[in-house]
Point group: D2
Chain length 137, copies 4
Amino acid sequence: MIRSTTFLEVRYYETDLMGIVHHSNYIRYFECGRHKCMVDLGLPIERIENEFGIMLPVVSVECTYRKPAKMGDILRIESRIEQMPKAKIEVLTEIYNQNDELVVTGKVVLGFIHADTRKPTRVPQCMVDVFSPFFND
Amino acid sequence: MIRSTTFLEVRYYETDLMGIVHHSNYIRYFECGRHKCMVDLGLPIERIENEFGIMLPVVSVECTYRKPAKMGDILRIESRIEQMPKAKIEVLTEIYNQNDELVVTGKVVLGFIHADTRKPTRVPQCMVDVFSPFFND
Amino acid sequence: MIRSTTFLEVRYYETDLMGIVHHSNYIRYFECGRHKCMVDLGLPIERIENEFGIMLPVVSVECTYRKPAKMGDILRIESRIEQMPKAKIEVLTEIYNQNDELVVTGKVVLGFIHADTRKPTRVPQCMVDVFSPFFND
Amino acid sequence: MIRSTTFLEVRYYETDLMGIVHHSNYIRYFECGRHKCMVDLGLPIERIENEFGIMLPVVSVECTYRKPAKMGDILRIESRIEQMPKAKIEVLTEIYNQNDELVVTGKVVLGFIHADTRKPTRVPQCMVDVFSPFFND
């Protein structure tokens, strides 16, 4: 399994009339979490695109909201990849606040496409190389 | 069943490096669609909060991405409520582009809470009154 | 002079804790207004980039806030270009609400750069051709 | 003079088609900077509203763009208040990237209003108390 943690502070403009983080922003926090995960692994998303010509469009998103985050909260984004990606990659995320309360849980599935043709492809070899030590069973 | 249609033009700042609408924005378009739906019914979300003291926090979101929307696309947001809400309300949405191609599908579940106590409650009577003609089976 | 009008409905997620449109969003509305202006002229910003290889980065922005816009407001974006662009283009904007009250005024200055080299250039000929009938004095 | 520094990492969804941070986002970064400034002083904006009933609407914004910020850049937000606020407060901001290159400069002016009546007022005493040691000339 691959795991990564990152921290984000809630910004004022991310909150809405209810005084809480607008629900769409967690989808963006998930992205921050998985980008951090790839940076931790030495394979930033931008590098996969620039060097290997592969982009990772989002295929589906699920998010369940447990407890609202508020202005000033420091959120801990816990991302994990439980399965070696093949045609797709699945990233699970849990977000906690500074009191260690679960704020949201989510699952994001991404595909792989060639940047030039926009045609689907399988997990690029660069990712297999980086990921396989974490899945050697 | 309750149905509502609204149109939105993709704005430049909603697109990302890939030249397509950032996936988090569809969650926002869903919201525009269901707000329009409530306005069509004469019961805007703000009125439920201001007059009846009930807020509708989002409980969960699911979105499946079929075809990317691009800058300048005119999107048609089709929202529908298939079941009379009880403790929760479920809104299904399909978004199409100007060529009638399916862009995304989604499901958003909202709960009901008292604005002052933030405690959960059931569907408010004002909503039952407005919705029931659509579900008289 | 070149003038263009477009209408935008305030979206829920654009409002903040104060119940009003977050001030950063007007900068985005300005952009919607000037994009509409270019579309009206038959020369969308994307076309200038795709066909002529020129991009228009924003050089400076000024915005003065008169009256807050709220959820559900229908805003009228009035954009105008008073001077034939040379090294830069200046777009003035006024935003009014549905009661014809002035919400904000703004000025945005954009430059011209070559998309490939990112080097500054002067107003592209395609824009001169389209604009000159409006400035023949 | 009051000075404060904060750091922000550029997030993917803040970049646009040009691969750079959308110009409206710097207005948001300014806000992050001044919020941090107030937190440093022990007087967070929310506290001014909650405890003293005073809100600080933005009156005007100016931003000049020097060098684009890109995905992954770590930005340093330098905020400063050069004059003791009276009817308004003026916050000057400079944003630098990780290579110490100037990205943008900005000036934001905020007013003071009573949260309940939304009527203008002068700088609240709580702010005078906190600020005056920095302006004893």
